[in-house]
Symmetry: C2
Subunit: 458 residues, 2 copies
Amino acid sequence: MDAIERRLRDRREEHLAQLKSLLSIPSISALSEHKQDIRRAAEFLKEALTDAGFQNAQLMETAGHPVVYGEWLGKPGKPTVLVYGHYDVQPVDPLHLWQTPPFEPDIRDNQIYARGASDDKGPTFLHIKALEAILQEQGELPVNVKFCIEGEEEVGSAHLEAFLNEHQAQFQADLVLISDTTMLSPVKPSICYGLRGLAACQIDLKTANSDLHSGLYGGAVPNAVHALVELLDTLHAPDGTVTVEGFYDDVIELSPEERAEYAKLPHDDESYRKSLGLPALHGEPGYTTLERLWARPTLELNGIYGGFQGEGTKTVIPNEAHAKVTCRLVPGQDPNKILDLIETHIKKHTPVGATVTFIRQDGGYPYLAPYDHPAIQLAADAYTHAYGVKAVFTRMGGSIPVVETFSQLFHKPVVLMGFSLGDENFHAPNEHFSLTNFDKGLRTLCYYYLNLPTALNA
Amino acid sequence: MDAIERRLRDRREEHLAQLKSLLSIPSISALSEHKQDIRRAAEFLKEALTDAGFQNAQLMETAGHPVVYGEWLGKPGKPTVLVYGHYDVQPVDPLHLWQTPPFEPDIRDNQIYARGASDDKGPTFLHIKALEAILQEQGELPVNVKFCIEGEEEVGSAHLEAFLNEHQAQFQADLVLISDTTMLSPVKPSICYGLRGLAACQIDLKTANSDLHSGLYGGAVPNAVHALVELLDTLHAPDGTVTVEGFYDDVIELSPEERAEYAKLPHDDESYRKSLGLPALHGEPGYTTLERLWARPTLELNGIYGGFQGEGTKTVIPNEAHAKVTCRLVPGQDPNKILDLIETHIKKHTPVGATVTFIRQDGGYPYLAPYDHPAIQLAADAYTHAYGVKAVFTRMGGSIPVVETFSQLFHKPVVLMGFSLGDENFHAPNEHFSLTNFDKGLRTLCYYYLNLPTALNA
């Protein structure tokens, strides 16, 4: 370990120069004029993997941008880690807000500034360099490693699932390791072990053939906006609880240990409320804010529309009204079942005089790593080694579709070891990545890889 | 009466030729390029009044288009009737749907086709010709008569109230007579004696500083759309009753006689429902459809909007949501008081975590003529005389702002003697006016004017 860490220190400038080269490539997946840049970034990583000592490094074609693959399989019988990352980046507008050009990486205040520095070229690059250091110093890796670095994460990973399905055998592994999440703070490393899933639908409500004049018809006919309001109000209790029958049935409740851990995390409701400009917070009774965000499902009305929206007055009885709905799901819940429950509820509560069309949209499974799995516990130890403070276990309220994809496909733990910080402007001008986390991240990952066989008793 | 009716028959072609001349003038008040046409139409009526034997016929300027005035005040001590009408017309688009050009009046199938034929040049013209016939045959009128024919009805009568306020003494009368409403059917003449009023407002609801990500914040913060739905759902009971405290307090209930009259009117709920394409009608329990439309107040959500309205899914927690509201008010109710009650209700029921801005908009008083006033009862007799069937008493669910203006200003009965039919395409291509109603309308009005002194015991 000492030799490896010495090597990382000695070669820091060389590594940063390589990262700068990678960050110089404008691999924006959303813009078709950058298609060649996307390929250049993929080629760069293929070379970097080969240089690091990986075999079979190659660009594998998908229906969209290619996936970069590389492998080191020199330890038959030992566990195999699949490392996921992405080399595509977000667009850069508005360009004039960047202090230095987004594809001319600049180091200042111990941060490296460039589009993709934090999301996700920097963190992905750490894995290559950490593994290279081990391989070069020890002549071998402690475990087998495969890389899957995609080029479409910022446009929804549209082709990844089909690609992995097609190449399932090749990407088989005992665990998936991803560095594409954030730490709680620079002095508070964290391992995210749970994500919420998604279930989306649309409710279209109709009454009469056409809008009607409120003077000539008002009082005798149903109003689509009234009916929708009445229907939607049956979805929640005033305290915020979802009242769809069976909605909470499959929820895996938080363990007392998890609740105790969350209670220790730095969070203050009052400053949270103030920062959002809210008169009051509002959520399911019996749970703290972090519990509500991380481990309780929601049914959220994302939008509503019907009738007149202009200035002034229009005396119309609307004949149509619409609602956009998404649920955040927590471990145990199935998006299809949840949509079934909502559909049943909607049909049961459709008001007199209205007809409702229920449209099912996207769904995504929630993810929960086995909290006490040794591969997860080891991640915490690795952070503790590099950062000198105990790492904490958190969940996230959002969804990471690729985590769900890997989890559903391989049924293996997905370990989320993030090195980015929430204020590093990913998806915004002046994206940057902390060089402190660059250095400590390398040490964290080396520790993790080196100790994995022992942790897994393999 | 015989001589008068003979005169009307003898001069029918002459009268129709005059009406055609009036209908040839494209006096569209909404389009500024027709300003000179508006004046031409006003001048035409001034001449027609003078020719009919009225004095002081003149164009009186307003802040917009002029009002045509004329008077015959030869019966001091006898009642004075103020006749209101309008000479402006609606625009004519889409022009290609007209069978004959809108300002080239054409008589076919005993209808006269032209923009303004039914609304309201035709009916207004009937008053001039009926009074001319009496004046020419008898040398005097049985009552004093003043005309107020405005040129801005189709653009909201924006300047009429201020104008009448300014000239209140000149327009003083014992009753106001208006022919700008419809009959129930060609064989069912009707007198409208009640109109609903209006009270409009907007509800703007806000939660957080900005829209929030449903993954990162969902479950812990209020959602403006949820809050608005919860708030709006407190406004009605599921059966359609308005649940704003005090909303019905001032409503003048229908008399048993009125209910009995309405029950005799031709109306079939099932065909009404089918014609509107509705699964079911919906309204306040305990009242029939006609009662709900004519004599019960409503609180109608005319529009709702907040959050995402695009295609697909957006996982957003909206921080703003809005509702447009109008009430139709019935006799007894005061629009300002109703808005006060709604505002109080909204404030009382504002959900946790939300702030609400209540914006007061238009208001208009309901109108109810004294059902048993002899000037109203005489109107029914006049129809019976000309149509040979008993006229019925109805109300209207809509509002006629000028009726409210006259009622509030003069506190005298406003008698609505309509000769138009609901299917005469006012505001649409191929507007027309039935020549049967042209003929019977003249006879009805002559009978009315001639018998008014007796009816009023004056």
